[in-house]
Symmetry: C2
């Protein structure tokens, strides 16, 4: 049912808020009324932080991650290994891998995966710049860390084809049983892969 | 685990977004990255609608609902009955009752209910202004339409005490079995009230 808002300003704010993904009109109204219960400065600061971001955002010219400078903190870090490049879909994936503290190389943010259903082709992604980056030399291994989905696999294969001639070592992240999972509840494809891709065990992890 | 953001601007925007109720840092990041995928104008319009609201919002001086003018559209409507006043907690409740199209009187928005646990006393609500409004005359019935909770009941009783001397007719909205509910699943308090407060049946609803 169409809602009747008591104020055009309120209706506009709710309408704008509900254009965000996962936020319906009821949630939008709740959030907007929350803003109205705060000091106006709260909302001004909130709004400024968003416009400040979209107007001031930069993307690292090397890895295409969000950055405050031309080259991001990771790419310009003196102690990271520039010969190791991890290819990921998006910024959240960079943050997730950084949180593991298991990777000391650089990244390459594709900006998504190939998905014909969504109209996303290779030219919409940072694949050409990855090929250039490898061609420029100094990279010994490219790690593909994309989602374990049809689209991720397609993208992995596309990149494999593009980089095969360069002679760079290509690897994909391991797929197998999640840490903490019980075997009997794992799906058979994952379990099968974890057996095929078993690793030598020397008594420690 | 603490997240490391690749940009201070991004971190600030995510931080501000996650101050909203029900929005954690992961959701905030997802929303902010969505904004970054849109044209900057999208975010500017969004931000402007919020600051425009909090800086331009007015509250009706009669019923305290959000309004674009001194007196809201409902209070100034020539075809509505000003002798009937429905007391509600908040703006969403006004919208919910308006959607039923069953009420043709005016409203009085309290701005909450008495809740000592949350530090909300009668003086934090628009109760004094309700008493004044009734004392000014012209009101024949005050309908209490508050939540069916301990706090709502407390507030109902407080208002009853304040208005008892005025001689105005007081009523509360009916509590009973929801339309579409099966009797066997109703809680016993609700079912008991629905029997005590049964209404005469003349063959139609």
């Amino acid at each position: 049912m169409e809602q009747k808002y008591p104020s055009a300003l309120l209706e506009k704010a709710v309408g704008e808020f509900s254009r965000l993904p996962g936020i319906g009109r009821k949630t939008a109204l709740r959030l907007v009324l929350h803003l109205l219960r705060q000091e106006p400065q709260f909302t001004v600061t909130f709004a400024d932080s968003l416009t400040g971001l979209v107007q001031g955002v930069k993307y690292c010219k090397v890895c295409h991650n969000i950055s405050d400078s031309e080259v991001c903190n990771i790419c310009s870090h003196p102690k990271r290994d520039p010969s190791l490049v991890c290819v990921v879909e998006n910024i959240q994936d960079v943050m997730a891998i950084e949180n593991t503290q298991q990777f000391n190389g650089l990244y390459h943010v594709l900006g998504g995966v190939i998905s014909p259903m969504d109209g996303i082709g290779p030219s919409d992604l940072q694949i050409a710049s990855l090929v250039e980056r490898v061609a420029a030399g100094g990279i010994r291994e490219v790690i593909l860390a994309l989602s374990s989905t049809m689209e991720g696999d397609t993208t992995n294969f596309y990149i494999y084809r593009k980089l095969a001639a360069s002679g760079v070592k290509l690897s994909v992240i391991a797929r197998g049983i999640s840490v903490g999972d019980e075997l009997q509840y794992a799906d058979e494809v994952t379990l099968g892969r974890s057996i095929v891709n078993r690793v030598e065990f020397d008594g420690k992890y």
